[in-house]
Amino acid sequence: MDSRVRGNDIRKIMTAFTSYFNDIYRAVSSAMIGMRITIKQMVSPTVTLQYPRVKKQMPDRVRNRLYMNFDDCIGCELCAKACPVDCIDIEVLKAPPTVDLGTTSTGQKKRIYVTKFDIDIAKCCYCGLCVYPCPTECLKMTDVYEFSEYDRHNLIYNFGTMTPNDVETARSKVKQYDEEQAAKKAAAAAQAAAAKAAASANPAPQAPSVPPAQNPESQKSSETPTT
């Protein structure tokens, strides 16, 4: 019994000894492995891009700053309706058919004055949902991603090319056309009434004159609050 206990003790001491030296060996060898790795990394080329001077190639179809080709806009407001954060602000004015606004590059005829086309890029969430509904493909997302500003009001991009003067002239044209239309209508109504009166012989009181219809379009545009 004595010898067995002694044998156990010796074994315990031996395992303690071997584990002690094993620990030292493992510490030294793993430090060596680590140092070999770090020195290899040190001489290997760096991965840093000197950003403002060297830029990373952006992938195709990247969605960054919105670009809008105002010449192609037909004022359909589909983009503003699609926008989930309401960052597109459009004001339109229906042009009278007598005015020729030209055509878009896709050959569509422009019928509406776009008096205001603002995109608040600070609100934009870069979802790209406004791009797809556009019938003339005038909105697109570019790969420009550096457009910080000192004043956040500068982040509201005015794409509309109509000056306040242009808008005024457009309004007056619309008004004039409306008045002409109203006058024509009144004249036509009067004529019709007269004809009716003539047709229905004697009882011919004055036909109730139709009040000239207000142009709903112009009214709306003047009432929409400007932001």
Binding site: A31, G34, M35, T38, M42, V43, T46, T48, Q50
Partner: protein, 347 residues
């Protein structure tokens, strides 16, 4: 011109000028190492580090220095102002005073005293007092933790370190650092790490023990200068920089300067003890006062490089692991080596 020569003849002026040499060296070296360490750290992590100021950011250390010089010197309200102000200077003085006995070249050693390495060990312990003082005077629990850790660490690692020095002193029979270097003169085969200038049998028997003592001194010196993997006193992640949390501006800069100067000091001691100090590895080729200064700085910088390399490789030890390494591994090995060296030298 004659006036200047007359002034140089004055022993006081001359000794002041000679004492300024290590200070100038420390200042220049600190700038180089500040830049070198950041670059090495970055390249180990595949980054570039400073690139803006000067060619590859070489002017960055000067910019950093300028920033530290013009920074406001904040002293916390609750701090013990006198000791708070004193501590960084004490730390730096402890390090700078140790440079007095370091032989920079065959012709230049600040003070060629016979107790050289003993004096160095004694004076560099002043650093502990300074660190403890800064931690206590800051009146900040993290600073105090850092200072206490640093005191425990430096005191316990001084034992294997001093035992390793003792082994070398037993082999060379002198504590004068200039004499220690001269005894290893005559080429790379005479360096102590390769057995020193002894008969072949003794030389071969000494090599393994010299290597063990070298590793022990290297590890304990790393612990003494508070660098990773032994940087518990200033563990950024746990102690927000430990004892120098509350320091700013020039005082902080002086702590940094002292740390880097200490780093070179322990590297210099390793070089003097095991790698022949200022001696040329090619015997009499490329030796002389200027070449010897070059060799000394070159070898010292090589060990500074090794320190930085290790810093960016190994993670920090735990406190219990730290004590385990010191008391249960380094100290027994050092004692055993001293015993064996005693036998070898007697035989």
């Amino acid at each position: 011109m004659e006036n200047i020569l007359l002034l140089l003849n004055d022993p006081i002026v001359l000794s002041v000028l000679l004492a300024l040499i290590p200070l100038v060296f420390i200042l220049v070296y600190a700038l180089v190492v500040l830049y070198g360490e950041m670059k090495m750290a970055a390249h180990i992590q595949n980054r570039l580090a400073y690139m803006e100021n000067g060619w590859h950011g070489t002017l960055q250390p000067f910019a950093d220095m300028l920033k530290l010089l013009q920074k406001e010197d904040i002293i916390p309200d609750a701090a013990d102002k006198f000791f708070f102000m004193l501590a960084p200077y004490l730390v730096f003085v402890g390090t700078y005073a140790s440079f007095a006995v370091v032989p920079f070249s065959s012709e230049y050693v600040g003070s060629n005293i016979d107790l050289g390495i003993f004096y160095m060990v004694a004076v560099s312990s002043l650093v502990v007092v300074g660190l403890l003082m800064s931690g206590w005077a800051s009146n900040n629990k993290w600073s105090l933790f850092g200072a206490l850790r640093s005191a425990a660490q430096i005191v316990s690692y001084e034992i294997p370190g001093v035992l390793a020095i003792l082994g070398v002193v037993m082999v060379l029979g002198t504590m004068n650092m200039q004499t220690m270097t001269q005894m290893q003169d005559g080429g790379i085969q005479n360096w102590l790490i390769f057995g020193g200038n002894f008969p072949l049998g003794q030389k071969l028997a000494l090599i393994p023990f010299m290597f063990v003592l070298f590793v022990i001194y290297l590890l304990s010196s790393m612990a003494e200068v508070n660098r990773t993997p032994f940087d518990l006193p200033e563990a950024e992640s746990e102690l927000v920089q430990g004892y120098n949390t509350e320091y700013s501006g020039m005082k902080f800069a002086i702590f940094y300067l002292a740390e880097y100067a200490n780093l070179f000091l322990v590297s210099a001691v390793v070089v003097i003890m095991f790698f022949g100090g200022w001696t040329s590895p090619f015997g009499s080729f490329m030796s002389g006062p200027v070449w010897s200064a070059f060799w000394f700085v070159f070898k010292g910088m090589a060990f500074v490089f090794l320190n930085i390399w290790l810093r960016w490789t190994l993670p920090r030890l735990r406190v219990d692991q730290l004590m385990y390494v010191s008391w249960k591994v380094l100290t027994p090995f050092a004692l055993f080596s001293i015993l064996a060296i005693g036998f070898i030298m007697v035989i």
